[in-house]
Subunit: 439 residues, 2 copies
């Protein structure tokens, strides 16, 4: 996020310094066990493409053409994400970041790793930056430095340090909402000769109504699995305490996956259980400081749009700088005003999609509904676009429009699904009449 | 809030220390210019009564039997709050606090004034308390002390320091929402011989649709006025810049009040413009630390229930301690569970009531609606209780029940008000039929 933004800004001729709390992952390697694999889709690709890094990044992605649902008997159902040729892309956070950091540095961006922001002065546009403790003359030393900037952009994620300075200003609206589920990363290794042990070009889901596991492919043949599971209740993280309980639960719940997970118990016990939060706030600007991406609008991951929305932020900010000849006094208010409604929309869509992924995709009625919508889209390609496609593939459509249209479509489809014996008669529906209702 | 709670706890035999950031108002006097006069009503009185301080406090209150609306021509309309003998009470924050602090000290509570909480450790139930800077041996000295407690109760208001420790814990849901209006305190002095220049036993409102001014009586014959006004737009605090603009605006908008406000310009320029926030959060407990009152659920002041809700919190907490023989492991979860829905309800009611106060009370249809509801209440005293009465006078009814019933009543009354020529025929409505709809 910060690295892509720094590329946009460096290309416009700005002198950019990026303060990063973690180390340089090009040296230290990626600290795993805590990251859902990222799903890069059209909005993200478009933002990468405008600064000419999309092609390089595509080299490390794996296309996923649809969802493969695994039921308790290990039976599989495939549901395409869109039309032929439409897909999303599995990519590791580290691979993506390394490409972006290298590109940014080549453009003159200065990265400062292992730096913690300890204070932001929003009136002076200054930040206090702490380096790791060091031993000088056998004394432990803390190194703080004050930087005064023309602009500060907080692209520092859901738990943004920049935002914490906003939080103590008057009239800052703020909400953080956790869902009842947490997540834990698990692992399916590659088979012999780096082979994929599940279908490679798909996102795998084990939908189990109140929870689910998913798996995304990695270039080395492995899959990164993520269990989304309640913190409390039956079943839940809180309930599975012993190795025996974990094993028994996985064997009865994900039988076809568990046979591919030799390190299940180790992963389960070692990897953290992380929480999932939606952050909404406003304003995103204070004087010359701006919040962007997850710092302004953190999402739950169920629409695979967190990174894509952040990258889109970068593209839109750049577009506004272009239009207004880098007059930030115009750009900043317009940015927050145009992006806020879209951020709210995708936050809502991401929450809604959890129910779809963990529950509905296992439902025959739901899959039929998707089939009917696919037919509507096939017949009226510009007049009926399924919600998933609007969000994922239509990178010129604002998220807010997608939400609004999707809500109307849902009402119409709710009616359609009430048709008697819909599963048998759906092909002879009056599709023209249905699509006309959307006007 | 903290002082009432300390009385409850001291009466149960607990050793209680109260850390107060401000000075002792019994010595320093009250810092005015920033406090809406408080409206004490039945829920608050009941909570005071259970620890035998209600009678002493009643000595410093002024009953207000209804609202008096002032239109732009200075014409007055009276609307009673409830039945004959039902009223709310104007009371100054300082008078109330002094009674409570004296009572608490008499019960052995230790007050530590001018103390700022700089850190809370929720795992150790400890707090770091800073005393004012002092000069020791001609050096400026900062005095921090660590206190470890059995329980910490954060009764420290909308901007709670205790809550800030909750905010950095995982899975803490939190929202702060500011409204577009701010407020400013103004003043109508007493007339000759401490006489009241407006009707004493009423809450005065100058409703002006998008904004309003109110005035509450003080025992010395003066009124404390509060202007609730948008920060931006037309008209707004942002727009009234010069003395001439302020004067002209007040003279055309509140002509009958302005003639009673000799210090208007001085008050307007000196007193701060403060913002109005709703805070919602959950959980309210972390280990042995509890949030209570505004710290857990800050409200906007338009239902006059902020203090009453906080006092009710104290009463309910005490009740639970009683029931569970001071077993805090049972009391704390039950407290938050039972109070959260009621806190959410009164937060919503308070926001809704702003529209009623600033706009609807000037509306003939609305006053007729209230008249019809008063008749329903008179005919069916237990079956139809107006929303305002449920919230204000029915101290055994949970706020959530009041909100739910009020919502149903509103729907019924919306229909009733559509009756043709309702203003002329309302007395011959079928009241039995109306009240039956509420079942």
């Amino acid at each position: 996020m910060g690295s892509l933004l720094s590329i946009y800004l460096a290309k416009r001729g700005y002198s950019v310094t990026v303060f990063e709390r973690r180390g340089d992952m090009r040296q230290s390697g990626y600290e795993g066990g805590r990251s859902i694999n990222l799903a890069l889709s059209n909005r993200g690709i478009r933002a990468l493409d405008e600064v000419d890094v999309a092609n390089e990044i595509k080299k490390v992605t794996i296309p996923m053409h649809g969802r493969i649902m695994h039921n308790r008997q290990g039976e599989l159902t495939f549901q395409p994400y869109g039309n032929e040729g439409q897909f999303i892309n599995s990519v590791s956070r580290s691979a993506l970041n390394i490409v972006l950091i290298n590109k940014a540095e080549a453009l003159g961006v200065e990265f400062k790793f292992d730096k913690r922001i300890t204070h932001i002065d929003l009136d002076k546009t200054s930040l206090t930056v702490q380096s790791p403790e060091s031993i000088v003359n056998s004394k432990q030393t803390q190194d703080y430095r004050l930087w005064t900037m023309d602009y500060i952009i907080g692209a520092d994620g859901a738990f943004s340090a920049v935002r914490s300075a906003f939080q103590i200003t008057d009239r800052f609206d703020y909400a953080q909402d956790y869902i009842d589920h947490g997540y834990k990363e698990l692992h399916i290794p590659a088979g012999k000769a780096a082979s994929f042990q599940l279908e490679k070009n798909a996102l795998h889901i084990w939908p189990r109504e109140s929870f689910m596991m998913i798996a995304l492919p990695n270039p080395d043949g492995s899959f990164t699995c993520t269990l989304f599971f309640p913190f409390e209740g039956t079943p839940s993280f809180g309930q599975l305490k012993t190795d025996a309980e974990v094993s028994m639960f996985f064997e009865s719940t994900f039988p076809d996956a568990v046979s591919l997970m030799p390190t299940l118990l180790e992963d389960y016990n070692t990897n953290p259980t992380s929480s999932l939060v939606t952050v909404r706030c406003y304003p995103w600007i204070k004087n010359n400081t701006l919040l962007i991406g997850d710092a302004a609008h953190a999402l739950v991951p169920f629409f695979g749009q967190g990174m894509n929305a952040g990258f889109e932020d970068c593209r839109v900010l750049n577009q506004l700088l272009e239009i207004h000849f880098d007059d930030w006094t115009k750009v900043l208010p317009e940015f927050q005003q145009s992006r806020k409604i879209n951020a709210d929309a995708i936050a809502q869509l991401a929450l809604d999609n959890f129910v779809e992924m963990r529950d509905l995709v296992a439902d025959a009625d739901f899959l039929l509904r998707k089939k009917i919508e696919a037919r509507l889209h096939q017949l009226y390609p510009t007049r009926w676009i399924p919600l998933y496609s609007m969000v994922t593939f239509y990178d010129s459509m604002p998220y807010a429009t997608a939400l609004e249209t999707g809500t109307k479509q849902k009402k119409i489809m709710d009616e359609v699904m009430k048709t008697s014996k819909i599963d048998r008669v759906w092909e002879s529906l009056n599709f023209e009449e249905i699509v006309n209702k959307l006007k």
